[in-house]
Amino acid sequence: MINKKVKVSGNTKMGYLFMSPFLLLFTIFTILPVGISMALSVTNYNMMEAPSFIGLTNFKLLILDDKEFLIAMKNTMIFALISGPISFIASFLMAWLINNLRKMRNVFSLAFYAPSITSGVAMGTVWMYFFSSDSYGLINTILMRFGVVSEPIKWTLDSRYILGVVIFISIWMGMGAGFLTFLAGLQGLSPDIFEAGMIDGIRNPVQELIYLTLPQMKPQLLFGAINGTVVAFGVFDIAVAVAGMPSPNYAAHTIVSHLYDYAFIRFDMGYASSIAVMLFLITFVMGKVFMKIFSTKD
């Protein structure tokens, strides 16, 4: 065997040669930035002068004094806690239902998945036909015709409704997000366990789902949950498309809106980095929690 070394013990040099373009870019644009963000978060930096170390001042300001950040935090939390679980459960249920179909499976999957591959900006504006704040909006037209309201509801201008509209559109778009992962996972399940389950006394599809399917699907569920968390806490473009920036009374202000505002409008990079670090910590902790919940080692 000429190339015995390659096969048996691994070829470190050749491996790194193939990985080098990826590693270079991954280091520059993903790994180092996490470190740089953390380093900048304890500085005052405006991109003109060198960063100066100010300890945890940014975080103190953020948590104790920055009312807009607290609003952004509250909005993002409400958003994530509602849209995240609903999208996740809906994705799974749909994948499960559609997987049981024989006919029309592709049509249903496409129709269900389509919203999640559209652009948030485009769909934010499309939904404005429905949620338009004047009497031309489809929903206002219907509500007024049936006499539910006499004045059009200002869906995108009244701060009481804005976040609800953003959540609604995000759920509509997000339902398909984990769907493909789940559908693929369901298709990869071995039929043997279901036959064994029949013998063990599994009687109906719901029992089958709880005792056989879900435990088998843990890796996909974990992936879906982590991905859903990342997407939910990164909410930005739909909020801007619906309510603008800044939104009325900051009703659709999110963590990423706040980050964008300080980083790329005010160029207060130190402060903005502390927002990025908060975002990092939240999604990371959530990720660890999901890894516990969906752990395959019990």
Binding site: I2, N3, N11, M14, G15, L17, F18, M19, P21, F22, L23, L24, L25, F26, F29, T30, I31, P33, V34, I36, S37, L40, N100, N106, Y113, A114, P115, I117, T118, S119, G120, V121, M123, T125, V126, M128, Y129, S135, T156, W172, A184, G185, Q187, G188, K218, P219, F236, D237, V240, A241, A243, G244, V256, L259, Y260, A263, A276, L279, F284, G287
Partner: protein, 298 residues
């Protein structure tokens, strides 16, 4: 007495097929949900072909009675007279998305090959970094990315939208999982025939993992085509803006869905939405089977 468990579907007395009640209920439920997911997409499609008098109709009409291409024409011609024609935005989006997709496919597949088939020292550590990067939102790294792009003088160039998005954790993850199931014997046979590692990669590995990278093409194209945050941060020149920003501009500012441009807006949204849906429809079967085989594992 046997309970009725289903019904036979007939047309003019001819029995077509028998459907059980639970299946029928499932179908109705799915059909309703599909209506919900597809409704805005259908509405934007019909609106894009509505003549001007139907656009201003009150109450608004869902389907058009006299379809017309005038909105499409005005989208392309009206904006032609202004500084930047709409076709330029399409080109910008197409060029940056396609270039990113090609580069990320090659770079991710090369890296996955190096990682999986050469088992370099430190490979596990690198993979754990990739897994970690799946757990936080790309917004976290946006500030350092901006600093790198700026220091490379890439602000207001296409490269600003391409280079940072080549080495994406999810992309290499997907290919790696798939590649792990490729038998070593294929590689050994080629190596014995005297093929270099570079030839092995292009002639043996790439054809074998085609389902994985075809899936990657779809996901990567969709996410880059729809990306709103990167061009917002990296592009200030109107001539270099991509479709999400252009659509937002045509919408006449957030939340407005200004009626004056309702037709052009719908046409723009349709143009923006169609490519991703077409790409997915064409690739749907392949995407699902690749995901089922590559298997997201714990």
């Amino acid at each position: 007495m046997a309970a009725v468990k289903g019904m036979s579907v007939r047309i003019r007395g001819h029995h077509l097929f028998y459907i059980s009640f639970p299946k029928l209920a499932l179908f109705c439920f799915l059909a309703l949900l599909v209506c919900f997911t597809a409704l805005p997409l259908i509405y934007v499609t019909t609106t894009a072909f509505k003549p001007i008098d139907e656009l201003y109709l009150f109450p608004p009409r869902f389907f058009t009675h006299r379809p017309t291409l005038s909105n499409m024409e005005s989208l392309f011609s009206a904006l032609d007279s202004s500084a930047v024609p709409f076709s330029r935005y399409i080109f910008n989006s197409l060029f940056t998305s396609v270039t990113t997709v090609v580069l990320t496919v090659v770079v991710s597949c090369m890296a996955a090959y190096g990682l999986v088939k050469h088992r370099p020292r430190g490979g596990n550590f690198i993979f754990s970094m990739i897994l970690m990067a799946l757990m936080f939102s790309p917004h976290v790294t946006q500030i350092p990315n901006y600093m790198v792009v700026k220091s490379l003088n890439l602000i207001d160039t296409y490269w600003a939208l391409i280079i940072p998005k080549i080495a994406v954790a999810f992309n290499i993850f997907l290919v790696k999982q798939f590649l792990e199931q490729m038998p070593e014997t294929y590689l050994e046979a080629a190596r014995l025939d005297g093929a270099s590692e570079w030839q092995v990669f292009w002639k043996i590995v790439m054809p074998y993992i085609k389902p994985a990278w075809a899936t990657l093409v779809v996901f990567s194209f969709v996410s880059n085509w729809n990306d709103y945050f990167s061009p917002l941060v990296f592009i200030t020149k109107t001539a270099l803006k991509t479709l999400p920003l252009a659509v937002q501009t045509i919408a006449g500012g957030p939340g407005a869905a200004a009626l004056a441009t309702a037709g052009a807006m719908a046409a723009a949204t349709l143009v923006m939405t169609m490519p991703t849906i077409i790409v997915f429809t064409v690739m749907q079967g392949r995407v699902l089977s690749a995901m089922a085989h590559s298997g997201i594992k714990a």
